[in-house]
Amino acid sequence: MAKFVKTGKRTIKAINTSSLPDIVFMILFFFMAVTTMRETDVMVTVRIPDATEGKVLEKKSLASFIYIGEPLEAFQAMYGTEPKIQLNDTFKELADIQDFIAQEREQLNEADKTKMLVVLKIDRDTKMGVVTDVKQALRRASALKIMYANTNVDRIVLQ
């Protein structure tokens, strides 16, 4: 008959942690790769409209952003409360859009120049007059691919 003999005390061995740095580095590299830093400070109030059909912006590098909305309170003393256009980090006028587009296009590779996309982040309460003027300016700058930024929802509720 076999005998079960208990020999000595049972000790719990410490977990081998020698591979921990590898794991940490792996996670580190993952986050480094997926991180996008916010390059521009938005200086206008933008509550983008709701929609159900929004598509995900896939190539962020091809996109240029135009923000339109009421200036934030800190800027209202200087710029008033009427909707303003923000390009990069400053408030700009309609006439500056053409230069802005040319400048943004300059930064893209030769192959990507035709794929340039302008993302319009516009406050939902903005009047269409401003939006239309911007659209016309974009047409004149031949930046024809645009995207109206929105938040995707299941159902639209109009206020």
Binding site: L20, P21, V24, F25, I27, L28, F31, M32, V34, T35, T36, M37, R38, P49, D50, A51, T52, E53, G54, K55, V56, L57, K60, A63, V119, L120, I122, D123, R124, D125, T126, K127, M128, G129, V131, T132, K135, L138, R139, R140, S142, A143, L144, K145, I146, M147, Y148, A149, N150, T151, N152, I156, L158, Q159
Partner: protein, 178 residues
């Protein structure tokens, strides 16, 4: 070493924004060249669904005051023209890969707005029109291939897009209601 790695890791953890931008993709028409004569062939009136949002954010479809909630269905029925009615869009026999010779609708949606229209409402209306078109494409995809439009391969998607083209044009606005 590990400390530095942890430090970096925590920094990137905090700084990462995973959210992605979503939006409605649109193609603006190019500015017409004044030296090139314009296409005189006007689109037949029956093929155009005229959608207008006025300065009071009211919706007019073909001049009729319409509830926002009805828009999707109206656009859907207009594009489909199931009974080939004479006041609804014409159809044209075109050969499309995967489908063969099929009757393709010539429908066009024209979206107009006033200067005083609210952007949010305008986008909501545009969204409904795009939704109606996507719905029809999805129906077609499910009927023909048994697969939802979203999961279709690019070739077949292109064929479906050709079948149900329905351009949505954003007309030049009228300078009223400032």
């Amino acid at each position: 070493m590990a400390d530095i790695a942890f430090l970096l890791l925590i920094f990137f953890l905090a700084a990462t924004t995973m959210d992605s931008d979503t939006g409605l993709m649109r193609q603006l028409p190019a500015i017409p060249d004044p030296n090139v004569p314009q296409d005189i062939n006007k689109i037949n009136d029956r093929n155009i669904l005229e959608v207008k949002v006025n300065k009071d954010n009211l919706l007019l479809v073909e001049g009729q005051l319409t509830e926002f909630t009805q828009l999707r269905e109206i656009a859907h029925d207009f594009i489909l023209n199931a009974n080939d009615e004479p006041n609804m869009p014409e159809k044209e026999i075109i050969n499309i890969p995967y489908f063969g010779d099929v009757a393709v609708t010539k429908a066009v949606i024209s979206l107009q707005n006033d200067i005083g229209t609210k952007y949010g409402v305008y986008i909501a209306v545009q969204n409904e029109l795009i939704a109606a078109r996507t719905e029809l494409r999805d129906e077609l995809s499910r009927r023909e291939f048994g697969v939802p439009y979203e999961r279709m391969d690019e070739d077949r998607k292109g064929a479906i897009d050709d079948y149900i083209k329905v351009p949505i044009s954003e007309a030049e606005p009228k300078r009223i209601g400032e």
